[in-house]
Amino acid sequence: MKKDFELIRIIVSAVLFAAGILVSRLVEMAWWAELIVFIVIYLFIGYDILIRAGKNIIRGQVFDENFLMVIATVGAFVIGEYPEAAAVMVFYQVGEYFQNYAVAKSRKSISELMNIRPDIAVVLRDGVEVTVSPEEVEIGEEIIIRAGERIPLDGVVVRGESSLDMAALTGESLPRECKAGDNVLSGSINMGGLIAVRAEKLFYDSTVSKILDLVENAAGKKAKAENFITKFAKYYTPAVVALAVLIAILPPIFDGQWAEWVHRALTFLVVSCPCALVISVPLSFFGGIGGASGEGILIKGGSYMEMLSKANVFVFDKTGTLTKGEFAVKEVLPEARREEILRWAAVAESGSNHPIALSILKECPASESGFDIREIAGEGIVAQKGNVTVFSGNARLMEENGIKFEPVDRAGSVVYVAKNGEYLGAIVVADAIKDDTKDVIASLRQSGYRTVMLTGDNKAIAESVAKEIGIDEYRAELLPADKVSELDRIIAEKDAKDVVAFVGDGINDAPVIMRADVGIAMGGAGSDSAIEASDVVLMHDKLSAIPLAKKTASKTMKIVFQNIVFAIAVKVIVLILSAFGIAGMWMAVFADVGVSVIAILNAMRAGRINNGKIS
């Protein structure tokens, strides 16, 4: 309502103003008639500014923008520039209206993000469904979530099966299936049937609370650019006002042109408000942070945005970050006997829970049972049924049983398979590389950034993975504590302007993440330590978010820089022109409002990310 009224008031006064100008040009009006026309328009469009300025003078707020506008316009009336005085006020209000519109829009986009907050929880107490607020649910209580409802607390599904929309948390649009026994995260929406979930965390500790907290406080950590601009604003206004006073007094002492110099001084006051500048910088950061969070990338503040935009050394943890962190059958040698080799290996490994065994069983489920299985620690498995004996294990198992085999030299774990003393072949099991790893590393290297991989694996594995994904450097055989000291070394050896980013899974790597200039944690949804330790949290575990986050940060910083340079440049030019009497108040206010509008439009660009691409 208030906004509608403002808009109508601006339009009406603009029309009246145009009519006033037209009439005063066509008809010879007495000076007092012209004064009355423009004073009426002036009061209509500017009464609220006058009231506020009055209040502020009483409170001793002299360098307030309202006050400065009033001085400038009243001064213009005094020296007989009536249309100019009214015009300045009209334009000023247009600028204010636009600024408020932009701010309201940005605030709205953040509050939409805040919509992931669950309002209610339906909890089962003594067999009765009770609707309570999520804060009241205790750990261990059973909550019921129907189709279309939001999961209020993190927990484990106890009954029911459904698919969950986790887009608000991870930016991932594909729904995720869940069934009894699965962990589910608060903030996701139940798309299918009814599920019952046992609460594992209090609301305050649940994922949704953590994310909300993080986004709401993101703007708290101010960037250097932001601090620069508030500092600039602090000195800018008093300096311009002081210049205005000097211009109004000094030159006329020599040439006696009081009206002309006062006019120029008043023009100074019009451009003395730094608001466009002060607002466009945080607005850009806000936009960038908001846009990124829509993609499941949470950047914890403007200062991290700034650091990320400068990051040029990317250090990755291997397991779980570059690779999936789970073993998979990579190769079977010889390929021609693949089915046979896998079949017998699966039979032998069917009783084991070892990750290697599981990866083989995943590739090929056991086809026969009833084997007598003997596990030899550090060697492998011998399975026997009737006159069939299967050997599945490492080289030592083959040697000790006198089986002739061909040693395989591949990175990863090699499982040799033999049946009844006859060697069948070998299975190479390795940690699978994520689908997007190669592209991400290639794109980072293409941009000229240094890429390093840290891993606890042995040198052979590290080297082969590094070669496969095309990463510049690797450091192998690192214990968790070594990773911190290795990162320290990288930071110590870098050039002063280099910025080191570390990407890890956030669970084991928290100390390394904290040590880096920019700590990036992957798979943040569900991991508190990741959210707490890092500067940037990727809610999912897609590596492609890294170049996207980097690009968003660079784009945001570019917009911030453009806005600062552009706004200051225009203000300085207008000040110079008006000091020489070339630019009048008209031009000054037009430039001032124009700069605000352009800077704000530019700032709103920061949040625009379409389908994972920077537009």
Partner: protein, 73 residues
Amino acid sequence: MKKVYRLNNLDCANCAAKMERNIAKIDGVTSVSVNFLAQKLTIEAKDECFEEVKSKMAAVVKKIEPDCEILGL
């Protein structure tokens, strides 16, 4: 003690910056951040003088932007 307050009718970015500067000068305040876009004031002050800081802080806000109020103070 650290507290976060929501601000109503915070209309001008420069005013927010001014509030931040002036509140930081109050005795006992360890850190303060006024977030114009989120309309939030985050203050950290010594426990023993928190009440005093609160009233002084309210006065600063009123002085700079008369229409602006701190919710839940």
